[in-house]
Amino acid sequence: MAARDIHGPKPPWGEHFQVIGKGHRKVDGLAKATGDAIYADDIVLPGMLHAKTLRSPHAHARIKAIRTDKALALEGVHAVLTGSDLPECYGVIPWTPDENALAVDKVRFIGDEVAAVAAVDEDTANAALELIEVDYEPLHAFLDPKEALGRGEPQIHEGRKDGNVSKHVKLDFGDVEGGFEEAEVIVEGDYSFHGTTHGAIEPHCAVAQYGADGNLTLWSSTQITHYVQREISKVLDIEPQHVRVIQPCLGGAFGGKSDPFSLEFCVSKLAMITGRPVKMLWTREEVFYAHRGRHPAQMHYRTGATRDGRLTAVDAKILLDGGAYSSFGLVTTYYSGQLLTGPYHFPAYRFDSTRVFTNTPPCGPKRGHGSVQPRFAFEIQLDELAEKLELDPIELRRRNFQGESTETINGQRITSNGFLECLDKVEAASDWKERRGKMPFGRGLGVAGSMYITGTNYPIYPNDMPQAGIQLQVDRSGLVTVFTGGNDIGQGSNSVAAYLVAEELGVEISDVRVVAADTDLCPVDLGAYSSRVTFMVGNAVIDACRKLRAQIVDTLAATWECDKKRVRLMRGMALDLEDSERAIPMREAFQLTEAACDTLGATGSYNTPTLGGDYRGGAIGASPAYSFTAHVVEVDVDCETGFIGVKKVWCAHDCGRALNPRLVAGQIEGSVYMGIAEALLEDHKVNRFGLHDGPSLLDYPMPTTLDTPEIEALIVESVDPEGPYGAKEAGEGPLHSSIPALANAVYDAVGLRLTDLPFTPAKVLRALRELESATGV
């Protein structure tokens, strides 16, 4: 079978699934719950050294000199690194390598890495850091993206063409001016989204070992083993076949571990210099500086519609605060415009998006990369439009539904689309018709919708090889081992691989082992980002299983001298459907097949079809399948304090097919939790000194269980023609519309149109008072 073959959404055996669609434990659930799971910081190797990083206390400064001799002289110190030891630039996007493991000539934010020390223990390494002398020449620090846009000097990254602009994308689709002329109603306004970070429970950690054979092994809490391998190879100048990157069990990532990070290069280099294994574990504070969280965005939107509520044109202007480095910024800038063109039909659309550098912790991808901010602005505009047109906001959204098997104005192919069912579900579950606009002052309901990609056909570095590869090994003991490059970051991708093998080969889930994210052992998968793993790795697993299944079925049919159609593999047994005497355990079936065919194994792969619009950047945001979401949020606004109480959130998400509904519901709940947190509590910002406002879990207030609303996860299964058994993504989409739905609920509750995130009680109270004095209430 070729890599691009589509296996279709049907069950592999008969009418019904045996494993898929049912709630199963995660394959690593027990190990995590009991403490058996090995995370990066659990790794202890003989003779291991501990490394720490010296960071810049200046937001923007030139490094005049660094003196490390005193640090090196300290007893217990084995090596000290500075920027000149690792001069090669890197970056997750090959077109924008603007990072160094340690600052070479400049520091660009408070917390930027300057030097690293390996010592016998962390205390000694910390003491050595204090002995490193750095002479800085402070430069003007840009803390405001508008200033960075308007003022090109001093450049944060010198030698670039366009001052402090990181990326600018302007794209037009259809007749935008004509669309606004045709419009009978136009809404226009400014919207502002603040910075937020991931807050994964596990801080970043890396351990490196450099063997006498010249092979480097790096264990790292990364969600992109393959890209880390490539960048390590480049920066450390080791051929990639001599770099082994392993992702141990991971304590959450949410996009915050999808860049190559300074610590990975530092421990590798330090291991090479000292000949000893080296570990670096970041503190929580350091994780806040490493950031790569959601870009603050200042947005201006204009949306036109006809009297009957049909959209005629959308025009957006967006300013993204990228922080100090590029990271995924090129993609973010495209995503901020490209991913808005569903679930509604846009006849004409324009966006003009600019990302600027500032002297703040670098932004990057966070759950819903690039598209959560525009979705916030646009879904509020739809609410404003519905009000002007005196239409129910759900009805307005229905009227503009783009449909399935269609193409968006910017050339994205839409396959399955369950958005209408999502709207129906949240409408019914929330008792919308009876309650919206009819509750007492202070209480309200709001709705919003969204879509998101299930992976992208843009593979970061251009190549024609598969995006996901799989290798299966079948042992005569009855064990099936799956080797996958996919990164399980807690979302359950290893479990999904096991479920799919169990379904395809008729074995028990417990008889499948998953070996994942080890570049020496596993075929390449590009990593856990863009919600691609279940779709792409899943398809690759099915691809590999079908090859093995054919061998097993052929062997059994020949052995039993029956038609192949009569052979069925299920629940650990191989059966002849027409002869109940013939039922053997899969172990025996494997042994018969191995005897007949040779050692058993198979590979499988997945690659995307050619997708995307025929223009520069047309492939960015082009996905083999899109997920769709609708939220209804119920709020209770305390008008005395400004606190917004979220009573309940209904989230209906079209995930194509729920391979394990329990995991899908978990992703929905987690997404809603994160969205509400961003709307009400979290604010990742720097103070007037350019210093992080509070790099701790006390000062960066993530919601506790008491602050988390009741969440009802409603699963919609549109069954996609190309997903594994029809599955699409569930990890990121269900976040998007939670935030505008909350804003729209506040409008229903108290008539206040909130457009400036986060909705702190101070801000809400001030706005309520302004509203009162304006309306004379």
Binding site: R55, P57, H58, I110, E122, D123, N126, P203, L281, T283, R284, E285, E640, T641, G642, L681, F689, L691, H692, G694, P695, S696, L698, D699, P701, P703, T704, T705, L706, D707, T760, P761, A762, L765, R766
Partner: protein, 331 residues
């Protein structure tokens, strides 16, 4: 993870021994009760004790007992125990409530009543790591000469942030210290200074050995209201405790109000009793008195930009939380 600096741990078995150890190293030794304030502050380089004296093995510092004079609370009583203790719940409800909203459940299981009373003042520019504070040029309270709350300020305005302090003040509670010169009892209202660097008048060799809550009026009512962003974990952005004593007729015969998270010391709002005296909860007169008390508190309580949260909004919350506390107490 942040590293704990090196220190010597001592574990005395009696209060007298602990006091002796404190006296042996004046200013160099610190006491460890639950550790929920001490340990993070040591990790942040805010406290640099050479010696840490654990109170875990000191006998007689735990538990709540009652006599004719009132309640005696051991300072090593955990906040969880204090908040659930039947005697505290009935005799000093404001204290039980305050203890029950300190931090989160896990921290209340470890953190102690004495530790909360003796809590260091807090400030957004102070309760940070050494690296962070270095980037700032440090501050008045530790390692530096500048105040970042009040620019040009020469006096530290870090905020008293102990939820239990205002509750204890409204209860007219006192603290008993053991020092080299013997026992000393001081009204908790008189414990404070207005200096954010050290806001308590306690000798370097003194150990808190008891908190005494005098017998309250028969119709004693109390409540504590806490402003914070999250419903758990967070320190107060404003906190107020109230006492309402009701006579046999159900009218107010005594009242008090104290607040925290404003300036360096917990603040008693004077003149509250006069406004409420003789009014009956449920009556218009009571409601009007509550409003007057709320406005009085609004005048007296001026939050600074010392702890997180918009100071102007925190001030707006003063009358709201005072009203809520009074109504809760009256219920």
């Amino acid at each position: 993870m942040l590293r704990l600096p090196p220190y010597r741990l001592l574990e005395p078995s009696s209060a007298e021994e602990a006091v002796q150890l404190l006296a042996d190293e004046p200013g160099e030794a610190m006491l460890l009760a639950g550790g929920t304030d001490l340990v993070p502050n040591m990790k942040h380089g805010l406290f640099e004790p050479k010696t840490v004296i654990s109170l875990a093995k000191v006998e007689g510092l735990e538990g709540v007992s009652e006599s004719e004079a009132g309640l005696r609370l051991g300072p090593m009583t955990t906040l969880a125990d204090a908040s659930q203790n039947e005697l505290v719940l009935t005799r000093a409800p404001a204290l039980a409530q305050a203890a029950g909203v300190v931090a989160g459940p896990q921290l209340r299981n470890v953190g102690t009543l004495g530790g909360n009373l003796m809590l260091d003042t807090r400030c957004r520019w102070y309760n940070q790591t050494y690296f962070w504070r270095k980037g700032l040029g440090y501050c008045l309270k530790k390692d530096g000469t500048l105040c970042h709350v009040v620019e040009g300020g020469s006096r530290c305005v870090a905020a008293a942030s102990n939820d239990t302090a205002p509750a204890l003040m409204t209860l007219n509670a006192s603290a008993v210290f053991l020092g080299s010169d013997g026992e000393r009892e001081v009204a908790i209202a008189d414990l404070w200074t207005t200096d954010g660097i050290v806001n308590k008048k306690v000798g370097a060799d003194e150990l808190l050995i008891a908190i005494k809550v005098p017998l309250q009026a028969p119709g004693h009512r109390g409540a504590y209201a806490k402003l914070r962003r999250r419903d758990s974990i967070d320190f107060p952005l404003f906190g107020c405790a109230v006492r309402l004593d009701l006579d046999e007729e159900g009218a107010v015969s005594g009242a008090d109000l104290a607040a925290v998270a404003l300036v360096a010391r917990p603040v008693r709002v004077k003149g509250v009793e006069e406004l409420l005296l003789g009014t009956k909860p449920g009556s218009e007169a009571f409601d009007q008195a509550v409003e007057e008390v709320a406005q009085l508190a609004y005048k007296r309580c001026r939050p600074l930009d010392n702890v997180p949260g918009d100071a102007e909004w925190r001030r707006e919350m003063v009358p709201v939380y005072v009203r809520r506390a009074l109504r809760a107490a009256a219920e």
